[in-house]
């Protein structure tokens, strides 16, 4: 079967690229060996998650793809029992919080995929302090003003920093020359900030994973998040319903299908081959174009196309894919997924003893008392929130690396009522380690669980235990080099995205756009015509004479074409 592009793997980058290519008028075939969409960013039910884990932990190599996946996910351990209502969970293999300003949101809106999905605003970010308590993170003027934990001088310095970070700091004297300074040190030196403030800023505002991370990228991230606050609500971050990125990837696949893309799930890829075409009639052409053909199991016809876009785990070694000896991890992350039956409670450490203040109804106000004004103890329960463990905050934890734990409950449609998914990530500094994922992350899971037994509750409650838990290490590949990048005939392989909560969505989307343009370039060079809507064809430059083998459709001028239907702009809820 002949297509313009074959895409292997339905991970986020591949799905975004497939949608853009379909919308641009190319014929796309999109394949995934798994029965579900999303690839390494998929959202899975608990049963699917257990199968996923078992397939990668076992030794039986039933396909090249699985062999590659086995090297990608190591140190896998899981609890054996599956909790009831297992189908009502959507666990993300790539937990993510999406900033309200950034390439991912832009693409969601411009592609129209935002209309398929819904999002919940992240409720809170807090820093773990000690069993049962957290420190709230002041990220706005309002937070700083209200905080009881900061001294007056602290408040001024923190505000000075936040104002600086939200503005155009490139080239300013406070930053010049210090762009590569370790960020925590920079905060101490230039803004005279103390431990607690630097910790909160570095790990809960900039989301650094270590104190050594350089200043400039951290500042850029903070600025993006500060500017994102307020767009859809107080928090800068959105969490996708039904497990986040997996659902989003599926949305992009749906868009691609609507524009004519062909979808094939659940088939093993038997072989991928490339063969050079006959030399073109145009003597000026210096590169030979290729044709790719893909054989799927139980599929008679091979899929053929001029361009192949692929996630690294599908690229065979013959075309430059990773051999097991050359596997080099760029990043490794230890992960824990746990399901619990009590909410986390973010009780702030700085809550003062109950003192009667003049600002509440006192007992002197007899008959004029209104029942609605009686102060109630505030609830610190959270449904969808982020817990940050700075380096060294746990006795058995890492002393150099911060850990981020995303908890999602019913509000994000990822768990049934009364249940919560805790998704913990620890960046590993070396890709080879002696400790197992479970050993590394158990202390963090227990610390998180200590927050389910709030000290303020009237009855003594014990912390929740997990109904289900899974531990593993996720290795992100180093950039795969297939044929030299200058050649226009190489497989377009998805570049790795660092699996870091606040950045993965934007990074994956930027990669998708780069892949899209490379694919378009290859397609043009190969003379592939795209199907354009009448309007665009009319606007195209019809006067240019082009040789027979070249694409005569007008140039693509943007990543996403205009949307097809004007939406009523009354819906402003996510």
């Amino acid at each position: 079967m002949d297509f313009d592009v074959v895409v292997l793997g339905t991970g986020l980058s591949e799905s975004v690229a497939a949608a853009a290519l379909s919308k641009a008028g190319y014929k796309v075939a999109h394949v995934d060996t798994n029965q579900y969409y999303g690839g390494d960013e998929a959202s899975l039910t608990v049963e699917e998650l257990a199968e996923w884990a078992d397939a990668r932990a076992s030794d039986d190599p039933s396909s090249d793809y699985l062999a590659n996946q086995r090297a990608r996910y190591t140190s896998i351990t899981r609890s054996q029992t599956i909790p009831p209502q297992s189908r009502q969970y959507s666990v993300s293999l790539a937990p993510s919080i999406v900033p309200s300003i950034g390439p991912h949101i832009d693409s969601l809106i411009a592609s129209g995929v935002s209309r398929y999905g819904q999002f919940k605003l992240l409720e809170k970010v807090a820093v773990y302090d000690r069993p049962g308590y957290v420190q709230s993170v002041p990220g706005s003027k309002e937070d700083v003003f209200k905080s009881k934990a900061l001294s007056l001088l602290d408040k001024r310095r923190l505000m000075r920093f936040l104002m600086f970070a939200a503005g155009d700091f490139e080239g300013k004297k406070e930053l010049e020359g210090k762009e590569q300074t370790p960020f925590v040190q920079y905060l101490q030196d230039v803004f005279s900030l103390k431990d607690q403030a630097t910790s909160a800023i570095a790990y809960a505002l900039a989301f650094c994973t270590s104190a050594e991370e350089p200043t400039l990228p951290a500042m850029q991230r903070i600025r993006q998040y500060l500017r994102s606050a307020g767009r859809y609500g107080a928090s800068p971050f959105l969490v996708g319903h039904y497990g986040g990125l997996g659902e989003t990837a599926q949305g992009f696949c749906r868009t691609s299908a609507v524009k004519g893309g062909t979808y094939i799930l659940g088939r093993r890829v038997v072989s991928v081959e490339s063969s050079p075409d006959d030399s073109t009639k145009d003597e000026k052409s210096t590169s030979t174009s290729h044709s790719y053909s893909v054989k799927l199991i139980d599929f008679d016809e091979r899929l053929t196309a001029k361009v192949l876009v692929s996630s690294p785990d599908y690229v065979p070694t013959s075309l430059g894919g990773n051999t097991s000896t050359s596997k080099q991890s760029a990043y490794a992350v230890a992960r824990c997924v746990a399901i619990i039956d009590k909410p986390l409670v973010f009780t702030p450490s700085e809550v003062p003893e109950d003192t009667p203040s003049t600002d509440t109804d006192g007992p002197t106000d007899g008959p004029e008392d209104e029942p609605s004004e009686k102060p109630e103890p505030p609830s610190y329960d959270v449904d969808t929130a982020l817990l940050v463990f700075p380096p060294g905050c746990l006795q058995n934890g890492s002393t150099t690396t911060a850990v981020h734990a995303l908890v999602t409950g019913e509000g994000s449609m990822s768990a049934p009522r009364g249940r919560y998914i805790v998704n913990i990530s620890l960046s590993l500094s070396e890709s080879t380690l002696s400790s197992s994922a479970e050993e590394l992350l158990r202390p963090y899971l227990e610390a998180a669980l200590s927050l389910t037994a709030p000290p303020s509750s009237s009855s003594v409650t014990s912390p929740a235990t997990s109904l289900f838990s899974l531990f593993y290490i996720h290795h992100t590949p180093a950039a795969v080099s297939s044929a030299p990048p200058s050649s226009s005939s190489s497989v377009i392989v998805t570049p790795p995205s660092r699996p870091h909560l606040p950045t993965i969505a934007d990074e994956a989307t930027e990669h998708a756009e780069a892949m899209f343009w490379t694919a378009v370039k290859q397609l043009k060079a190969a003379g592939v015509q795209r199907t354009v809507p009448k309007e665009e064809a009319e606007e195209g430059d019809a006067s240019v004479e082009k040789a027979g083998t070249e694409d005569t459709s007008p140039d693509i001028d943007s990543f996403w074409p205009p949307l097809d239907a004007v939406e009523d702009e009354t819906s402003d809820e996510w």
Binding site: A110, F145, L152, R156, D361, E373, L563, D564
Partner: protein, 332 residues
């Protein structure tokens, strides 16, 4: 909407939207002609009433139609209704204005109609409770004005209306609860002169009624305002409130202590115009009010401090340079 990127729509999509709008426009014009015709004929029946509802949904700024609606109610509906029915109708109309206000929060005619409805509320529900209906409407008014202040907490019209509502309610809310309300608003965003102003009015009233201990209360307020000062030294309303608090007291110690705090803040934020100006003001206050308790040397130092600050202010705030020159020329 702020921050929403303009999405590109295809030519077809835009053309389709334009057609939909044209159809709506035609409907509106037809409806308007019909309603105005009925008004001319003084048709005050039920059907006319319903037509005004439809028209007002499309264009609530069309005040002629509001007038017409009131005429219908006064002439055609109320005379033949029981108090309970009248109350029901007014309740529905208030709901209508609430719905419209959500989309058009600043249209005078909607507010106007609201006020009119409130004035029409009959005694009820019973003879022993003639204010029952009114009370529940005034409670709702408070709720509506609170919603408005949530959307725009610095809308001084809304604060005015709030005071009007609080005054008119048959059963008053406590001033302590009002104090708590201003605190909430200030915590949400202290760059809010109206909230501080309201707070000052409520506190004054509570002090004169003996419900709060004045000195203790002033201390707490100074602490609150200091937190705001340090968080954002550029915020004008905070300094003005501070000045009011100082003016209430009689203690030199307090003024000395506050000067010290502001000095520390100035150290941290050397370009803060408000710090400098306030220091000048308070130091001059010391010279004026507590002159007898100062030594000659202290008096001299305060004077020279002020000169120094005023000179700096001329550089930091050149727009008001002349004022600072003026101030340094005049005696305390």
């Amino acid at each position: 909407m702020h921050g929403v990127k303009r999405v590109r729509y295809s030519r077809e999509a835009l053309a389709a939207q334009k057609e939909r709008e044209l159809a709506k426009l035609k409907e509106f014009q037809g409806l308007t002609a019909e309603v105005l015709d009925r008004k001319k004929r003084k048709d005050h029946g039920r059907e006319s009433f319903d037509l005004t509802t439809r028209l007002l949904h499309v264009n609530p700024e069309f005040y002629t139609i509001w007038n017409y609606r009131r005429l219908i109610l006064l002439d055609g509906v109320f005379p033949t209704s029981t108090p309970t029915q009248t109350n029901e109708i007014l309740s529905d109309d208030l709901s209508l204005t609430t719905t419209l206000l959500k989309q058009h929060p600043k249209v005078y005619w909607i507010w106007n109609h609201r006020q009119w409805c409130l004035r029409q509320v009959p005694d009820g529900p019973t003879d022993t409770d003639p204010n029952g209906w009114r009370q529940s409407y005034w409670n709702k008014e408070l709720f509506v004005v609170e919603k408005m202040l949530e959307v725009d907490p610095r809308n001084f019209h809304a604060w005015n209306y709030r005071r009007h509502v609080l005054d008119n309610m048959p059963v008053k809310r406590t001033e302590l609860s009002e104090l708590a309300y201003t605190k909430r608003k200030i915590e949400a965003n202290f760059s809010n002169f109206s909230a501080w102003h309201q707070r000052s009015k409520v506190l004054t009233s509570l002090w004169s009624a003996g419900k709060l201990d004045k000195p203790k209360s002033i201390e707490e307020e100074l602490d609150l305002v200091k937190n705001a000062m340090y968080t954002d030294p550029g915020d004008q309303s905070v300094w003005i409130y501070h000045r009011w608090l100082i003016s209430l007291g009689d203690s030199k110690n307090v003024v000395d202590r506050e000067i010290l705090s502001i000095d520390e803040l100035l150290d941290e934020q050397p370009d803060s115009k408000w710090c400098m100006e306030s220091l000048v003001f308070y130091k001059r206050l010391l010279l004026r009010k507590y002159s007898e308790s100062l030594t000659d040397e202290e008096r001299w130092k305060l004077g020279s401090d002020c000169e120094g600050l005023l000179a700096k202010l001329q550089r930091v705030d050149p727009d008001r340079k002349q004022r600072y020159i003026d101030l340094s020329g005049h005696s305390v």
